[in-house]
């Protein structure tokens, strides 16, 4: 599935901007999201949550709740089994506390009742006896020996001695001799950084409708990034075979990584099984903040050495991430990506994952990378300031390129970092004038991108139109891109192709929509499925013409003889071939199943101009430009959309968003009023520049683009603020109170 050897292929549909297939439904309010489904006899499910950050659950008395008129089922951890797989057991224990409440908001019981009012009333009747324990919410405190232990016995064999049991894993990457490297530097800067946890902030709270029947089968409707992953987790938790549970993904109101696991679905299934009725659970916004999956918070040290003319000679980082009350694998991603943008002789990163009494972390675009790259890009920028060097030129001087041995091991093939840096350098934004209290910042960014398990089924309808069935929820416009690639390959107009997302019964396994993988993998599988169908159609036509299959080619939506030697036959269109398919062998289809590899990494560079108000500490963004390598932009509108959306999420992360825990371990700001995401009036237009350095691993050169854009904004803004007011902060978010304090301290 390598890049098409027809390197200078002129695309007819790929690269254009057709309307998306779900557009009309969404602008008329007809689209069905997680909370929009109902079922006859449906009950309302509600969840009781721990008011304590850390407590032993001594007993739960549900008798009064069960006795309340209108209550049909009550469940606790006692209603669940013990999954064999440890990571699935963690998911289950996160959905329903087993013996201990591990964070403020941890689910401890649930009810299903005829109405929401009765369900809420029933929750109040559940008597839980807690033994409150000491808690810990800060990553550095949690690592110290003597810290309250969140879970015992979870530390892996790779953790060094001297930490508390909350440190569950340790990793290390890099190459070269740091001592030699630092000795060569003219200037060495060492800094420590902290970043707060943030939430993906999808506007749609988690919602599901579960329907278990007495014969053991189940139907689950939910908003999710991966219905197959939901099936795997829920089937295991409920003790069901995969084939017994059919999961249908609704339209999704945002995910960004936060809907790649389950929180309420097993609970709804358990309530449905117990009550014999469908059960709908919709989270409140308060619950979303308290009990879904925010990012890690971090504490990091970065040390970089640079020569007077801007060459980085050595780079080192230590990353401490807390992922909530269950072990995670996020610091590995941070430690590998931290220095990915740089061609280094000596580089070394060490990382630790730590437990705290906070909700179980989940992915949020490029998990682990934003905070690590923020720290690195900040130190690089500070070195540029100290040495009087241009930040773009320094990036260019040290940029990873084809042949660079990356900081995480493999050698890069064709990559787009230099191209994005050159594009930034040539852009008018770079030379726009700046006034008082204004500053310009830049940062590079990177993400690995994945392939993964993918199945596509492509059917040629008897009228020659095309139906595509794929298994990945559409979170960014992928249905349009997939239809485009099929239209391109088949040589038919875009509006003759319809792509739908199937339930778990209709296709083989598909990995979740994450890792910026859908346009890449599902696209690749669609192209192969289309080629498959083309082969079938050419075979049918070969029979009709009485010639060899090799002598029939496909062009512009028609089967044609390959040349004059093949014979003088009038081309047959896809409509004509489809119309007689029952005569020539039956319905025509192509399909493709693969665990796709060869996803191309995506590099980006962001430039921002800011103005900081010295009286309020508020940062206004004057201008923002995103440069990113997309390999091949199938639908440029949607590539731009990912660049703009990810950039704005990063802006929120840098300037305002944070999880605030009190000394009591309770979350203080579980709502959109005090968890302040960017609004329209906070922002200027976000200009986008798409570069296309084809990915050798995809037939059209596609690279994933969805995650990289959240990475650069953190340091871009921190660097811009530093240059605007001459004060550099080393923590995120740089909210107005923090900036004001720093401004006042400077005098």
């Amino acid at each position: 599935m390598a890049l098409d050897s027809k390197m200078n292929r002129v695309f007819k549909v790929v690269g254009t901007r057709p309307p998306r297939p779900d557009g009309v439904e969404k602008v008329t309010g007809r689209a069905m999201y997680g909370a929009d489904a109902t079922a006859p006899g449906m009950l309302v499910g509600r969840i009781l949550r721990s008011p304590h950050a850390h407590a032993i659950i001594k007993s739960i008395d549900v008798s009064a709740a069960e006795a309340l008129k209108g209550v049909k089922a009550v469940v606790t951890a006692a209603d669940f089994g013990v999954p064999d797989d440890l990571s699935i057991r963690d998911v289950q224990d996160n959905c329903m506390a087993q013996g201990k409440a591990l964070y403020h908001g941890h689910a401890v019981a649930a009810v299903a009742a005829n109405t929401a009012a009765i369900a809420s009333q029933a929750l109040k009747l559940i008597k839980v006896r807690y033994e409150v324990l000491p808690h810990v919410t800060d990553v550095d405190e949690a690592m110290r020996p003597g810290a309250p232990i969140v879970q015992e016995g979870r530390a892996l064999e790779n953790v060094a001695a001297g930490f508390s049991e909350n440190v569950t894993s340790q990793c290390e990457f890099g190459h070269g001799d740091l001592e030699v490297g630092f000795a060569k530097a003219d200037k060495v800067i060492e800094r420590s950084f902290t970043t707060a946890a943030t939430h993906q902030g999808y506007i749609e709270p988690h919602a599901c409708l579960a329907s278990m029947s007495p014969d053991g089968k189940g139907d689950l409707w939910c908003c999710t990034q991966g219905q197959f992953q939901v099936r795997t987790l829920c089937a295991e938790i409920m003790g069901m075979d995969a084939s017994q549970l059919r999961v249908t993904a609704s339209e999704i109101g945002g995910g960004f990584g936060g809907k790649t696991t389950v929180f309420i679905e097993p609970v709804a299934l358990a309530l449905s099984r117990k009550s014999g009725r469908p059960v709908k659970i919709v989270m409140t916004r308060d619950e979303v903040f308290k009990a879904t999956g925010p990012t890690v918070s971090s504490s990091m040290d970065v040390k970089i050495g640079m020569t007077n003319d801007g060459r980085i000679t050595a780079a080192q980082a230590q990353l401490r991430y807390q992922g909530g009350a269950f072990p995670c694998g996020t610091v590995e991603m941070g430690a590998q990506s931290a220095f990915a943008c740089y061609n280094l002789d000596a580089v070394h990163t060490v990382g630790w994952n730590v437990l705290t009494n906070r909700p179980k972390e989940a992915a949020y675009r490029a998990p682990g990378a934003p905070m690590a790259i923020y720290a690195v890009e900040s130190v690089v920028d500070e070195l540029c300031q100290e040495l009087g060097l241009d930040p773009l030129n320094v990036r260019l001087k040290n940029a990873s390129t084809k042949g660079t041995k990356s900081s995480y091991g493999p050698t890069f093939d064709d990559i787009g970092l230099r191209a994005t840096l050159e594009a930034a350098k040539a852009h008018p934004h770079c030379s726009a004038p700046l006034g008082p209290n204004q500053g310009r910042g830049l940062s590079c960014g990177f993400w690995f991108n994945f392939g993964g398990n993918t199945c596509v089924s492509l059917n040629i309808n008897t009228d020659g139109t095309v139906g595509i069935t794929e298994g990945n929820p559409d979170i960014g416009g992928s249905r349009a891109a997939i239809s485009q690639m099929a239209a391109e390959e088949l040589g038919v107009p875009y509006d003759k192709v319809r792509t739908i997302i199937a339930d778990t019964n209709s296709l083989g396994y598909n990995d979740v929509t994450d890792g910026s993988r859908v346009t890449f993998s599902v696209g690749l599988a669609t192209i192969e499925a289309a080629r498959n169908a083309i082969k079938v159609m050419c075979g049918r036509v070969a029979k009709i013409w009485g010639i060899d299959e090799d002598a029939v080619i496909w062009e512009d939506g028609c089967a044609k003889p390959s040349g004059a030697n093949a014979g003088d036959f009038t081309p047959m269109s896809i409509e004509e071939i489809a119309a007689i398919s029952s005569n020539t062998g039956g319905p025509i289809a192509g399909h493709f199943e693969v665990n796709a590899d060869g996803a191309g990494v995506s590099f980006g560079v962001h430039l921002a101009d800011v103005e900081v108000d010295p009286e309020t500490g508020a940062t206004k963004i004057l201008r923002y430009t995103v440069f990113q390598d997309a390999g091949k932009a199938v639908h440029p509108d949607y590539v731009e959309g990912q660049m703009q959306g990810g950039a704005v999420q990063g802006i929120g992360w840098a300037l305002n968003e944070e999880y605030i825990y009190g000394k009591d371990g309770l979350l203080q700001n579980a709502g959109f009023l005090d968890y302040r995401v960017p609004v329209a009036s906070d922002l200027p237009n976000i200009e986008t520049v798409i570069l296309e350095i084809p990915n050798p691993g995809h037939p059209y050169g596609v690279r994933g683009v969805g995650e990289t854009p959240i990475v650069p904004p953190l340091a871009t803004l921190s660097n811009a603020v530093a240059r605007a007011i001459g004060i550099r902060l080393f923590e995120l978010p740089m909210s107005p109170p923090k900036l004001l304090k720093a401004i006042r301290q400077k005098g």
Partner: protein, 81 residues
């Protein structure tokens, strides 16, 4: 024989060697041989690893063929969002 680069925190299981040589023609054979010859690697291998072959990352593909001149780098199993 294939040369495999081992990431930093796993090198304690390979006596500090950054690169080890094993006899393997595909991903699965590579992992099986590594686990046998360097038992300290077994827990991580069982938890899951990815393989970068000439710069391309393979998350799970057992039968990916590895040539003697390939650059092979062991990596943690990747997750996204």
């Amino acid at each position: 024989m294939v040369k495999v680069t081992i990431w930093g925190s796993l090198r304690s299981a390979t006596d500090g060697q950054v690169e080890v040589e094993v006899d393997a023609r595909n991903f699965k054979e590579l992992l099986d041989r590594l686990a046998t010859e360097y038992p300290g690697l077994k827990p991580q291998i069982e938890r899951g690893v990815s393989l970068a072959l000439d710069g391309k990352i393979y998350r799970e593909a057992w039968f990916t063929e590895i040539g003697p001149k390939s650059e092979v780098v062991l990596m943690p199993y990747m997750t996204g969002g």
